[in-house]
Amino acid sequence: MKLMYELSDADRTALESASGGEKLMYCVPYNIEGDRFVKGFLAITDRKLYKLLNGELLLSLPIAESDDFRVEVMYGSCGFYVRTGGVSRLVCRFISGRNLARYSVIIRACEILAEQHGTDPITNDLPERFCPKCGRPYVNNTTICPYCMDRMEVYRKMFAMTKGLRLMMCFPFIVAIFSVVFSFLVPWIEGQAVNEYLEPLSGTERGSMAGFILIVCAIVSIDLFQRALGVIQSRCSAVSGNRFIMMMKNILYEKLESLSLSSLQRRSTGDLMGRVNNDTAVMQDFVTNQLPNIFVQSVSFLVAMVVMLVINPVMCLFIFVPIPFSIFLIKKFWSTMDLKNRRGWNLENKVNRQLQDIFSGIRVVKSFGQEKREIERFRQSSLRSARQTEKNEMLFDTFFPIVTFAIRLGSYLILLYGNILLFDGEMQLGTLHQINAYANIVYSPLIWMTSVPRHISRFLTSASKVFEILEETPEVGDISLPIDIRIHGEINIKNVTFGYESYNPVLTNVSVRIHPGEMIGIVGHSGSGKTTLINLIMRLYDVNTGSIEIDGVNIKDISQEALRSQMGVVLQETFLFAGSIRDNIAYACPSATDEMIIEAAKTANAHDFIMDLPQGYDTVVGVSGYSLSGGERQRIAIARAIIHNPRILILDEATAALDTETEKLIQDALKKLIRNRTTLAIAHRLSTLRNADRLLVLDHGKVAEFGTHTELLERKGIYYKLVMAQQKMGAIPGGGEPEKAAAKTSSATA
């Protein structure tokens, strides 16, 4: 991110006259002053901080006397606060999206400057959050600016995607050319038939019957041939279309799975599902249906024009006369319809969301007796939606016939003029018929063609959304030559700082060394960063600074597969996939035998309740399956981790939903399990951690205490207070418990 912006001349003069010989280190913009958007700059020299606006110096603060630099994220903007000599000031305000990360660097820079003078400016490799060309923001943490994006690029990427299907995809175009040719041939033959054979009927000479039969045969065989082609084309596009959509979905899904948790969590499940399902469907429809159609319609439009021009230029003119008017009308019609439809669609969506909301919260609704109110709420919004739809349909039904009539105005002119020619004997009936048919060929694509821009823009939107994901580089990626190691179990966390958003660190400077085979209990207030630390060890996220090493190897160098396959987790939120209990237990180890599964379930103390279920281990659980209680789910998750037989076992509140007795049983089982493997266990109930060798106390993202139970008790710090508090509340029954645990601990370490 740029930390040295160019100042305007006026600003530079103001700065130079105020700062004299100080060295300018950083210069960053701010965007809001008072109640206005402005273009101001914050200049930071090695001594002072200057706030400039339109050639005026608004504020200057000595950095050495300042001690608290902070950014506060407010509603609609962010504020940069500095405390100088005990006085807090709001230095400036800025737009969060594009400048928050920049100011987090500036804070660090100021802190460094406040401590020592005259260092070199710090650097950073954070990417800018907006487009350098147009200044508009990038979207979704990508470096894509939709505003500057070129349509051609999307087409090119799309073309590249169709590899392997191209031949099949060409077929509709070939068929299209045939059908254009035939659609011109048939009116011509018909015209011949009328001119040569039907019209003369009323006259004196008769045409030969054989010739007439030939013409009929020709028409029939052309029709047959065309239909046969149509069948082949439909079959072809069914294959190519489905293969295409399947391929797109697979590629997209594969990519989504490879993306890191953080980029997935930025998007909602609905958005992701939309991209996998709807957007690919729109792309497929465009490529296999719309594109050939556009081709056919434009070719036949052009050819019809040319042919008509050749046959009778005056009539061609008649066709043209109403066209500009009708195009204007149609455009107007579609754009109005489009807006109204989108509004209707939005309202309909709201109704759906509301339904979904109510159904997922039905227990709450019922238990608070709010059914009536919800019914009323639903009635309101469905009424709104219905009204809009009603209006839209009425509008469409009224105007569409008018529009079609307007478009066809030209053909009435032709008919009129043609008849005049006919009566004057200047034109034959067959030719008029032919021209009339061509006029229809010109008009019928018109209505449809005006909606082409909509199809194209819909396609471009969907395609760019898909490509947006395909082009995202995974934040947590394997290096080019990842190492596959057999994990022994030593974890060394070195000066780790991490925030889900880089400007908001959740963990700061955490350093812990965990010996192989050790059991570490992690405790701390809710929100202190326990789960986050574990996410980092599992490498669901990458650290911002510092490193995590396993057996002396940085986890970034270990292949993710090797890493995850040797770690087992029981998470705070237990998630069971739709499927049988058996499948869920064997999730990470599909080759597990039934004996192993039962063994694991027994260890996790889950066997008994599973056997009580109607279908035992084959009972289907998950979204649409049998509902298990929180504790039951947890025990299945524990069994899942046990069967995985990991080198590093992670338990995040794994036993929180269990009653004390069950917990005790599982504790004993886990004691067997944790032998010889590194275990990290998070627990709020300290009794759960009585087997822990050492305890790590996190406080606001920092390591507050780290040591054995006895050591920590002696320190009388946070852990001591926690133990005492829980004892007082009766969480650890019996006064001697801590000592017992301590004794165990020391024997385990020994």
Binding site: D35, S96, G97, M149
Partner: protein
């Protein structure tokens, strides 16, 4: 430590220390004096029930109901020791109008900064590009160009018709009454209401 009596003593000493959170008190003109700090922010002199005075060089003010009742239930907070986190609540102001004119002004100044929501007065253009929605508007804070991820979810209408817009960059805008926009502007925003 094995001595239960000794432990009980310890406990009684220690438990309050574990919970060193302050107790939030109602703030009234009687117990709280707000004044402009040297740095232009809000300082507070708080008088506890026992007459003890406490001075806060800077307090932060938050609205409990920024949308529905912006001038009631204001949470006055310490500035936290830890960055990026809210400090503890010192107390709540039930109604801003309980305080005198200068204090009200002081509060509103701070609140206007913290809840920066310019009003859109004119919509110049709305363009859709690849599914993102680009807006060009005049607001009470000046001309601005902003982008919405998905206008259907970023534009929120309240029951009373007030509209809130949140853009990609973290800006917030409001349209107090869309029907008061000029006709072409209203037509542009109407789809999303």
């Amino acid at each position: 430590m094995n001595d239960t009596k000794k432990k009980d003593e310890l406990l009684d000493d220690d438990i309050p220390a574990l919970d060193d959170r302050r107790v939030s008190v109602p703030l009234t003109p009687e117990n709280a004096r707000f004044y402009r700090s040297e740095g232009g922010l809000i300082s507070l002199e708080l008088t506890a029930e026992d007459g003890e005075r406490e001075i806060f060089e800077r307090v932060a003010v938050y609205r409990a109901f920024p949308v529905t009742s912006p001038d009631e239930f204001l949470s006055v907070r310490e500035v936290s020791i830890i960055k990026n986190e809210h400090g503890q609540e010192i107390g709540m102001v039930r109604r801003l109008s309980d305080f005198d004119e200068p204090t009200q002004r002081l509060f509103l100044e701070e609140l206007d900064r913290r809840y920066f929501t310019p009003e859109i007065t004119k919509i110049n253009s709305v363009k859709e590009k690849f599914g993102y929605s680009y807006w060009d508007c005049e607001t009470t804070a000046g001309h601005i160009v902003f982008v919405l991820n998905n206008p259907f979810s970023n534009i929120r209408t309240l029951i009373d018709g007030k509209v809130f817009i949140n853009d990609i960059d973290g800006n917030c805008f409001t349209v107090p009454d869309p029907s008061k926009l000029d006709a072409s502007g209203y037509k542009k925003i109407e789809i999303y209401l």
